[in-house]
Amino acid sequence: MLAALCASAGFAPALAQSVSGPVTYQLDPAHTFVTFEVLHFGTSTLRGRIGPVLGEVTVDRAARTGDLRLRIPVDTISTGMHILDARLKQPDLLATTEYPEAYFVATRFQFDAAGGVKEVRGEFTLRGVGEPLSLYARSFGCRHDETLGRDVCGGDFEADLKRGRFGATFGEPFISDDVHLVIQVEGIAP
């Protein structure tokens, strides 16, 4: 299974040795961002990028277990529009003065047949409110990065939440309560 993963990702057997037990990946700040998407007046999708997300992920492919702790600096919110960024930071939305970071902590990992991470279930804390959240992999892959000289694993994940549950209610219902998260993540092995 592991061999299949390595073969499909197109890199050398070096990874096979390095993943025989738990491996802790440091998130790559150049390739780890969360983008939120929320429908505006039932018409178009507002997006905002948060990151880089900080933290580490430990994965034991053989045991099919994982542990993830992320710090999400919500005060880095960037929509491309300064006025909206400032509005999003207000107390009735992201409340970044009081809560400059959100957190995601998860220990329930599901793996696909090839050993890739398929789903991560954990607790998301925003504005100090913790709620269950599941991240689903749209894609997942590993490679040996020649530039870094390290193994890198990561992918694209997505999740859905209701912002009202965290107390971020401004603009509803014209701006939807449903928030879709699109997550780019890459982690670098030691």
């Binding site: 390739h31 961002f33 892959g141």
Partner: protein, 191 residues
């Protein structure tokens, strides 16, 4: 009835946009109009970059179900969230924004599904090269904005382009994909 037939004939002749009274012009609302590109990163994740400044106009004739648009994207407004990545893409190895500070999207063919715009066929000019592009609507709607007290129409569109057709070939030999997915939020205010 007579009026209706005349409209149908006019539409069939294809010059209704200019002639018919229902044609309206909408100005791109820059606070709700962003183009984002998505490109695969080494088979692992997806890199994204957003262009922060877009301007232009859209002409819509809802009765005749025709439309046209002329939109300019300021390529110097690229924002990826990583300064080094933004700088590299903006350099002459890729988008060369110093020499080509704008990308230009022009379309005269709007495909409707009922009352909604479903597809826009046009051309994209990037780095001085022009190629056909098809924008597919994922969302489309019009509403009366309580902020500007006017009708706003817009939606979410996406398109796939082949970057080498525009001369952006950097990294193709390292396995960076040639196809780029464009994700576009757009809203335009009736004038």
């Amino acid at each position: 009835m007579k009026k209706f037939s005349l409209l149908a004939v006019t539409a069939a002749l294809g010059f209704v946009a200019a002639a018919h009274a229902e044609s309206a012009t909408y100005a791109i609302e820059p606070n709700h109009t962003f183009a984002t590109f998505e490109i695969g990163h080494m088979g692992t994740s997806t890199n994204r970059g957003r262009f922060n400044k877009t301007s232009g106009t859209v002409t819509l004739d809802k009765a005749a179900k025709t439309g046209a648009l002329d939109v300019t994207v300021d390529t110097t407004s690229l924002d990826t969230g990583t300064a080094a990545f933004t700088k590299h893409i903006s350099s002459d190895e890729m988008l060369n924004v110093a020499a080509f500070p704008t990308a230009h999207l022009v379309a005269t063919k709007f495909v409707f599904n009922g009352d909604k715009v479903a597809e826009i066929d046009g051309t994209l000019t990037l780095m001085g090269k022009t190629n056909p592009v098809v924008l597919k609507a994922q969302n489309y709607n019009c509403y009366m904005s309580p902020m500007v007290k006017r009708e706003v129409c817009g939606g979410d569109f996406d398109a796939t382009i082949v970057r080498s057709q525009y001369g952006v070939t950097y990294g193709l030999n390292y396995g960076f994909p040639d196809t780029v997915h464009l994700v576009i939020q757009v809203e335009a205010v009736k004038q």
